[in-house]
């Protein structure tokens, strides 16, 4: 007889009540710790919007987002962040073009081809790369990389989009390598053995069986790498030149460029508090947060699409938001609303009323909802999908 049944059958008695209270207490503690991350994100968004909304009022959202010139200290200040948004997107894209093939190749080599001795050297080496602080990368880029680019391409200056992308690519490499390598290693060895048994060569096994099986893990790795590249500040502001222009022509990788993160890094320290420039920088931070949010949400959508692509028959029409993604979105929204509710409760009621209320009702409400809602998404490994398909 399991523990829960034993508690339920003892309907009365102080021992039973004590156990029930203990269960309740443990659940509430874990609930509070889980809620912490959501609360932090809500607070960050709240404070950024509070200081940033005034620039949206002053300048107007279209002029802010699509204005071509960022000159906050001119006689007629202009707060247009379009070149900055373009700069962030281009530098990240360049970094992925550089990092994805390299890291995929490295991950495949480490997990499939390397001997155990070589693997024992390579894995720690890539993890060491992840531990180097970003400002050290920036310094290396400033002294070595820009000089190299200047001499190789015979340019006036080496501080370019290319330098930023190469540096960000190097920084994203260890992230993508370790997660992809984990995904590739966790493909069951039956796949490999089966493929080799029917006569496929090693390369055919890797390219047609193993990598497609690990695809959602690899996609997750790439998205983590993108997240790392978008948010990088110090290294980027040291090597891209920080000129807020659109490259001319648009594919000119040898043009200086400026990112949203570089703008914040370079201007936040000396801005005059309370001025329009100060609010504009908070507006930039809000835009950056929204871009990160979009990247993460599309990551959810892409991963669900990849997972579903294996099980659903080809004939089904894909709606804009697959049911699983919609469910996930609903859960996220519920938690954010719950966090908002908790914050409001703390504000309007004194602490000694609010805490017990939440501790008592909170976990009960959520657990009931969680158990009841249909089609709750459960994380599945790509391998389970394949075995079911077979």
């Amino acid at each position: 007889m399991d523990l829960l049944t034993k508690y339920r059958t003892a309907a009365t008695g102080s021992a039973a009540r004590f156990f029930r209270l203990k269960e309740q207490a443990v659940r509430s503690v874990f609930f509070c710790t889980a809620l912490f991350a959501v609360v932090v994100i809500s607070f960050i968004l709240l404070f950024l919007l509070r200081d940033g909304y005034s620039i949206f009022e002053t300048v107007g959202i279209p002029a802010f987002l699509f204005g071509m010139s960022w000159t906050p200290t001119a006689m007629e200040p202009a707060y247009g962040i379009f070149p900055l948004i373009v700069g962030t997107i281009f530098v990240t894209f360049g970094a992925m073009v550089f990092a994805v093939p390299l890291s995929l190749g490295c991950a495949i080599y480490i997990s499939e081809i390397a001997s155990p001795r070589v693997k024992s050297i390579l894995k720690p080496a890539t993890e060491l790369l992840a531990g180097i602080p970003s400002v050290v990368y920036g310094f290396f880029g400033l002294i070595v990389l820009t000089t190299l680019i200047r001499e190789v391409f015979n340019l006036p200056t080496g501080e370019t989009w290319l330098a930023g992308s190469i540096l960000l690519g190097i920084m994203a490499l260890p992230t993508i390598i370790s997660v992809s390598e984990d995904a590739i290693s966790s493909v069951p060895h039956e796949f490999r053995e089966g493929s080799l048994a029917v006569g496929a060569t090693k390369w055919e096994t890797i390219s047609r069986v193993i990598v497609p099986a690990a695809l959602s893990g690899i996609a997750a790795a790439i998205i983590l790498g993108i997240g790392r590249a978008i948010g990088e500040t110090m290294a980027v502001l040291m090597v891209t030149g920080n000129a807020a222009i659109l490259p001319d022509p648009i594919w000119n990788v040898l043009s200086p460029i400026r990112t949203l993160t570089g703008t914040l890094g370079i201007e936040m320290g000396e801005v005059s508090i309370g001025s329009d420039h100060y609010h504009a920088l908070f507006g930039v931070a809000v835009v950056l947060l929204i871009i990160t949010l979009i990247v993460n949400l599309s990551a959810v959508r892409i991963l669900n699409y990849l997972n579903e692509g294996r099980t659903a028959p080809k004939a089904t029409k894909k709606s804009l938001l697959s049911p699983r993604a919609a469910d996930k979105l609903r859960t996220i929204l519920t938690y954010v609303l719950a966090a908002a509710g908790v914050i409001i409760l703390f504000i309007i009621a004194p602490l000694w009323i609010a805490l017990p209320l939440i501790a008592g009702r909170g976990p009960v409400v959520f657990l009931r909802e969680g158990r009841g809602s249909p089609g709750t998404s459960r994380k599945r490994s790509p391998l389970a999908c394949l075995s079911r398909h077979r």
Binding site: A74, M75, P156, G158, N242, E270, S272, I273, G274
Partner: protein, 232 residues
């Protein structure tokens, strides 16, 4: 402090904006700034007592490989406004083994050094948007030292042997080299004050420290660092 063992002085950086805001919010005893306190900040923090602690000059620097001998204020302005793009358009300037393209290096738009430069040299015009922005005097010096065709501006304390400070040319008789001496006798045109700020009249340890800074010992340190003392 080494000489006054009962005084504990903690210094932190962050830029002129941070210095002014910190003293305004009373989280520090003394704030430092290399730019003037704006009128908006003066209305927000009316109790400020602003003291000049040193003079500083802004030197125009180029890479030592550049053969330029001197530059006029107008030429500096046209270079930074993007109207002059090649070193060959400036008399006496040439960078061998390159195509003589000018690489503009400046500071970020919230820098005190840049706001001073934009006001006095560019006469409040906006510099070319192709200017590379660096976030400190040291970074500008570093970039000029390793890029042959570059031009930039730094505080005279940062002029090292890796860069060449270009004298300003007014006419054949009036060519002024940026140095502590020319800033002190006010012949060098690009000079500014460095400020320390307190809330109201300083007292106690704060007052002692400020007296030390303005006294002979403090001003000797100012001179040793390459800046210009306010007293003789």
């Amino acid at each position: 402090m080494a000489t006054h063992s009962n005084a504990d002085i903690q210094v932190s950086g962050g830029g002129s904006g941070v210095g002014i805001q910190a003293i305004g919010a009373k989280t520090v005893d003394i704030g430092m700034s290399s730019r003037e306190v704006t009128s908006a900040e003066k209305t927000k923090y009316p109790d400020f007592d602003i003291i000049t602690v040193a003079h500083d000059g802004i030197a125009v620097i180029v890479n030592p490989q550049n053969q330029i001998q001197y530059i006029t204020p107008d030429q500096v302005k046209n270079v930074y406004l993007g109207k002059v793009t090649k070193w060959t358009e400036i008399g006496g300037a040439n960078v061998p083994n390159t195509n003589n393209a000018i690489v503009l290096v400046g500071r970020d738009s919230a820098s005190g050094t840049r706001s001073y430069f934009d006001e006095s040299v560019l006469l409040k015009a906006t510099p070319s948007n192709k200017m590379l922005e660096k976030n400190s005097n040291g970074a500008v010096t570093q970039t000029i030292a390793q890029t042959p065709g570059a031009i930039g501006y730094v505080s005279i304390g940062y002029v090292s042997s890796d860069v060449k400070a270009v004298p300003i040319w007014y006419n054949a008789d009036k060519i002024i080299t940026p140095s502590a001496a020319t800033v002190k006798d006010k012949s060098y045109p690009l000079s500014r004050d460095l400020y320390i700020i307190t809330n109201g009249q300083p007292s106690g340890l704060t007052k002692d420290f400020i007296d030390y800074l303005l006294g002979a010992d403090g001003q000797k340190i100012v001179a040793d660092e390459g800046y210009v003392p306010i007293t003789e």
